[in-house]
């Protein structure tokens, strides 16, 4: 914790960066984003298992883009988002100073009482962050069980359902959506300044929070993230309606992995999988 504060102070006082985005404590079991612009404000910075937010979502803001250089406290998984933002021309490696955090895993569940360990942490490959400019924190213990496959029990469970059961499940879930777009705004990969849902020529997606609109919106959101989602789980965490959004995202990630042998956010040279193709892509569904 102390080392983050010191690092932030150093970066700010030496003028390396003019903004540090990190975390502060805001409750026993709760942290939240913190913007630090002056060295003396850095004392609030913390890092612990409650630092669930993916701060990369702030990198695409105009005011952050306008900084000379920005430092960001990032877990290994958050860096995947930064990688994608660079690939997609929303940021540059030079502009972002990555304070990478060795991370033993974060919590999940709703504030203020998150309890469960986050599912994404069970399959994490980047507990020691890649590509950071500086890496802080104790090396995560080897003993944490790590599951190399990216299948998730909840996805498996859903897959077992019949089509009608799935439809009934999602009808119920999506009817709760109030279209607050917290999922979109929290998502580091949803950086469009004009979302397709805000377009009305034509109105592909009904803006009303009725079932049709909710279905459309959630389909489009998941589809646009296919091959780009970095599994941070922010959408699901911030959803006031508790819709299990990551179920959809993970399904698509698994599909991308299986069909195109691709996992997003690890390689700066990679192209989003829906912008490239192989001539022998799987096509047994086409007659």
């Amino acid at each position: 914790m102390k080392e983050i504060i010191e690092k932030a102070k150093e970066l700010l006082s030496q003028g390396t960066v003019d903004l540090v985005i990190g975390y502060e404590q805001c409750g026993d079991k709760q942290c939240r984003p913190l913007f630090v612009q002056k060295p003396e404000e850095a004392d609030k910075l913390v890092f612990n298992e409650f630092c669930v937010h993916n701060l990369a979502t702030y990198l695409t803001r105009p005011e952050v883009k306008q900084t000379k250089r920005v430092a960001i406290v990032a877990k290994g998984c958050d860096i995947r988002a930064i990688v994608n933002l660079i690939i997609e021309n929303q940021s540059t490696r030079e502009h972002v100073y990555i304070i990478g955090m060795n991370c033993p895993g974060v919590v999940s569940g709703k504030a203020p009482n998150p309890t469960k360990p986050h599912t994404k942490c069970q399959t994490c490959k980047v507990r020691t962050p890649q590509m950071s400019d500086v890496t802080l924190g104790p090396t995560p213990p080897e003993s944490i069980p790590m599951d190399k496959t990216i299948t998730h029990p909840d996805v498996e469970e859903l897959k077992k359902k019949t089509r009608e059961e799935k439809w009934a499940f999602w009808r119920e879930q999506l009817s709760k959506c109030i279209r607050c777009y917290a999922c979109r705004q929290a998502c580091p990969m949803c950086y469009c300044n004009r979302c397709i849902v805000d377009l009305n020529t034509p109105q592909w997606i009904d803006t009303r929070s009725n079932l049709r609109g909710n279905l459309d919106w959630n389909i489009v959101r998941a589809y646009h993230l296919s091959g780009r989602c970095i599994d941070c789980g922010e959408c699901e965490r911030v959803c006031p309606a508790n819709i299990p959004l990551m179920l959809l995202n993970r399904t698509l990630q698994e599909e991308v992995k299986e069909k195109f042998d691709f996992e997003s956010g690890y390689d700066l040279e990679a192209c989003p999988p829906l912008t490239v193709f192989e001539k022998d892509d799987h096509e047994n569904f086409i007659r």
């Binding site: 439809w167 959809l248 599909e255 569904f285 007659r287």
Partner: protein, 144 residues
């Protein structure tokens, strides 16, 4: 309207292969089911998954998406790009429980008039057996 229900099927086709294939079916007088309504696009690459979703929501009971065979694309790559989109879109719809038996993908070249005619008839028969896609039609009801 009290007579027997007939399915509505919307087909999104590319201009160069399937549309021409449908033309050939016409000039060859291959008969097929009259339920299909063709919407022409330049290339399968232009056929957005949103089209499929919109068509189902707006009352189509079945959708056909068809274009040039791999390597035959007039624009070289449009169908390859499209195919990737459909792979992902299908995975998504499968997970949501959308009835994918109602969405048919087929390659159909300009010389395959017979394939086009067969395709339309087969899809129409299948959808007719499945009945109207009420699950999607219900989405439009404005019950509070």
């Amino acid at each position: 309207m009290e007579e027997k229900w007939e399915p509505t099927i919307i087909a999104f086709v590319c201009n160069w292969c399937t549309y021409a294939g449908a033309d050939l079916a016409g000039t060859s007088r291959f008969k097929y089911a009259p339920n299909v309504r063709i919407i022409k696009t330049p290339c399968t690459g232009r056929i957005d998954p949103m089209f499929i979703l919109s068509a189902l929501e707006r009352g189509a009971d079945g959708v056909i998406v068809s274009g040039c065979h791999p390597n035959d694309c007039h624009y070289n790559e449009g169908n390859f790009n499209a195919r990737r989109k459909y792979i992902m879109f299908r995975a998504l719809l499968t997970q949501l429980g959308v009835d994918l038996d109602r969405v048919t993908f087929a390659w159909c070249s300009a010389s395959e008039g017979i394939k086009f005619a067969g395709l339309v008839t087969e899809v129409t028969d299948r959808i007719r057996k499945m009945g109207p896609y009420t699950e999607f039609k219900q989405l439009n009801q404005d019950a509070r």
